[in-house]
């Protein structure tokens, strides 16, 4: 009995102190003087542009990593070939590497004097897109791989003997089994893309109103002693992430028949 309450207390306390309190504090700071001032700081051209940049980055990175992620998961689980293990390990690289390292690597490769050095990649939107794709790549793969392993290959083999082509088998048999895992991966990818700071920071050049995403804008405002602006933008980021989570909870099926 005591152990049960102690466990609850510890877990809730941990969440309260480390997660809820800091975020609650940001909300409180933002709306300390009412909604008006907070709204005014978010409605500035630079802030709106930063929001637009973040949404563009997310809108490119998420579909790209979703399609690639599902294909990559199929390649890892369904095909036996030399190097499959390496592919599996390399997918985790973005989780292991610090985003700053990712940013620097992109600079070295695409920056002035880099191997693939060209115009308009580094210190511009394409570089930021590449950085965002890089850091948010593993999530769909990591969600889909275990589900593919679990469902096994027998359903797909039966579909083949019943005359289904590879594409028909994927659409009618494999996809229905992995779609919720994929969706969950999409949510994690979106959250990561929205919140990416380090890698984007290095390759963006941080030009306000041009190559500043919302996370960079938050730091920019904070360093300019515009606390209200920083807090308000931070709250906007948090709301975007929350909306993604809520959307997933709404889309998730009632798992009655599984």
């Amino acid at each position: 009995m005591i152990a049960k309450y102690a466990l609850r207390f510890v877990s809730l306390g941990y969440l309260a102190v480390l997660l809820v309190a800091p975020i609650g504090f940001v909300f409180w700071q933002t709306f300390e003087h009412g909604v008006g001032p907070a709204w005014d700081t978010v409605a500035t051209p630079d802030a709106l542009h930063a929001l637009k940049v973040t949404l563009i980055l997310t809108a490119i990175a998420v579909p790209a990593n979703t399609i690639f992620g599902v294909l990559c998961a199929l390649a890892i689980v369904r095909h036996r070939y030399p190097g499959a293990g390496i592919v599996n390990a390399v997918v985790d690289l973005p989780l292991a590497l610090s985003p700053v390292v990712v940013g620097l690597a992109l600079l070295v490769l695409y920056g002035r004097g880099g191997w693939l050095g060209g115009h308009g990649i580094v210190f511009a939107l394409p570089g930021m897109v590449l950085a965002t794709i890089f850091v948010s790549l593993p999530f769909v793969v990591r969600e889909v791989v275990p589900v593919l392993r679990e469902i096994g290959t027998e359903q797909e083999q039966v579909a083949a003997t019943l005359g289904a082509s590879a594409f028909q088998t994927f659409r009618r048999v494999t996809w229905p089994a992995i779609r919720w895992a994929t969706l969950y991966g999409v949510v994690l990818t979106t959250a990561r893309a929205l919140g990416e700071f380090g890698a984007v920071s290095v390759v963006s050049g941080r030009l306000a109103g041009q190559t500043e995403s919302l996370t960079l804008y938050v730091q920019d405002r904070y360093q300019s002693f515009d606390n209200t602006g920083a807090y308000a933008a931070a709250v906007l980021l948090a709301l975007l992430a929350l909306a993604t989570l809520l959307l997933m909870t709404r889309l998730k099926p009632n798992e009655g028949v599984q």
Binding site: V158, A159, T161, L162, Q258
Partner: protein, 317 residues
């Protein structure tokens, strides 16, 4: 007719099939019988096109099918663990092959109704596989395989995941189904009783090779070698001699050709009684008697009896 010729299949260092040739006559029900790892499932998968042989040829009705993908072989396949499409209803599972072939919906409706009647699942058409028992799921798997009118029905340990009673029911039911449809059928099993019960012909496999292919009776009466002898039924082995337990006669008095043995244990199996014996030279053997025989002899544990084989087999090799 299915004809496999010189099939070799290796998985890394392991040779699953080591030059297997087998014929399955059209309209027959053939069992591939063997212990696990004998290659029987691999052979079935090679026939289905789910596995490519490293050497050898497979022909279906005289046409070379070795390189044909499973989609174009016209086979129905049933897995031990059902391989049900979990997110589809029973109806949609059975209709799958017809839907893929874009058959008119009237035809699909008629065919699926027929099949659900055949497998006795009419009332459960709207259920999901998770809401069915194992036996029902496997009948659904059979209906799904039969829906596309396969030339050949291939069953991989279809009743292996079911409990003993359901297994026996389905076995009888499968045999009846086959007598109605006459679809050429190959069933893989490690259960000799199941193979003998259901099949016209039994192919006994061991270590990637075929030991013997024969009708059940011939297999039992004239096993080709020790492996088949001991795999298709219980057997006593005394030196080089093999004796079936029902070929052991027990007498209360010695008569010259008998040997003395002591009754260790009586195991009552309903109509039959298994008598476990130990001879004076320490060899153990068992005899299978009817209850009447045991009662007539008034057998009891610890009793001394005299044993005489009425029939025995010695393999020359």
């Amino acid at each position: 007719m299915i004809a496999a010729r010189g099939i070799v299949k290796r998985f890394g260092d392991f040779t699953a099939l080591d030059g297997v040739s087998v014929d399955v006559p059209t309209g027959s029900l053939t069992a591939l019988l063997g212990p696990s790892g004998s290659g029987k499932s691999t052979l079935l998968r090679v026939i289905a096109g789910l596995e490519q042989p490293d050497e050898g040829k497979v022909s279906l009705d005289g046409e070379d099918a070795t390189r044909l993908p499973p989609q174009s072989r016209g086979v129905g396949f049933v897995f031990q663990h059902y391989a049900a499409f979990k997110h589809m209803t029973v109806w949609d599972n059975v209709a799958f092959g017809l839907t893929i072939r874009r058959r008119p919906s009237r035809e699909i409706k008629q065919r699926v109704t027929e099949l659900l009647e055949l497998v006795q699942l009419v009332g459960l058409a709207k259920r999901y596989p998770a809401q069915l028992s194992g036996g029902q799921r496997q009948r659904m798997g059979l209906a799904r395989a039969l829906a596309v009118d396969p030339k050949v029905l291939l069953l991989d340990e279809p009743f292996g995941a079911l409990d003993a009673r359901v297994r026996k029911e389905l076995r009888v039911w499968l045999r009846r189904l086959h007598d109605e449809t006459h679809t050429t059928t190959v069933i893989v099993t490690h259960d000799q009783e199941e193979a003998m019960d259901v099949a016209d012909r039994v192919v006994v496999m061991n270590a990637g090779r075929i030991e013997q292919a024969a009708p059940p009776r011939e297999l039992y009466d004239h096993p080709a070698n020790e492996f088949v002898m001991s795999f298709v039924g219980p057997v006593n082995r005394l030196g080089d001699t093999f004796i079936r337990p029902h070929d052991v006669e027990l007498l209360l008095e010695p008569n010259g050709s008998t040997q003395e043995a002591m009754v260790q244990r009586l195991v009552h199996l309903g109509f039959e009684v298994r008598v476990e014996l130990v001879r004076d030279d320490g060899e153990t053997l068992s005899a299978q008697l009817t209850r009447e025989q045991v009662e007539a002899l008034e057998l009891q544990g610890g009793q001394i009896v005299y044993v005489r084989p009425t029939r025995q087999t010695v393999f020359s090799d």
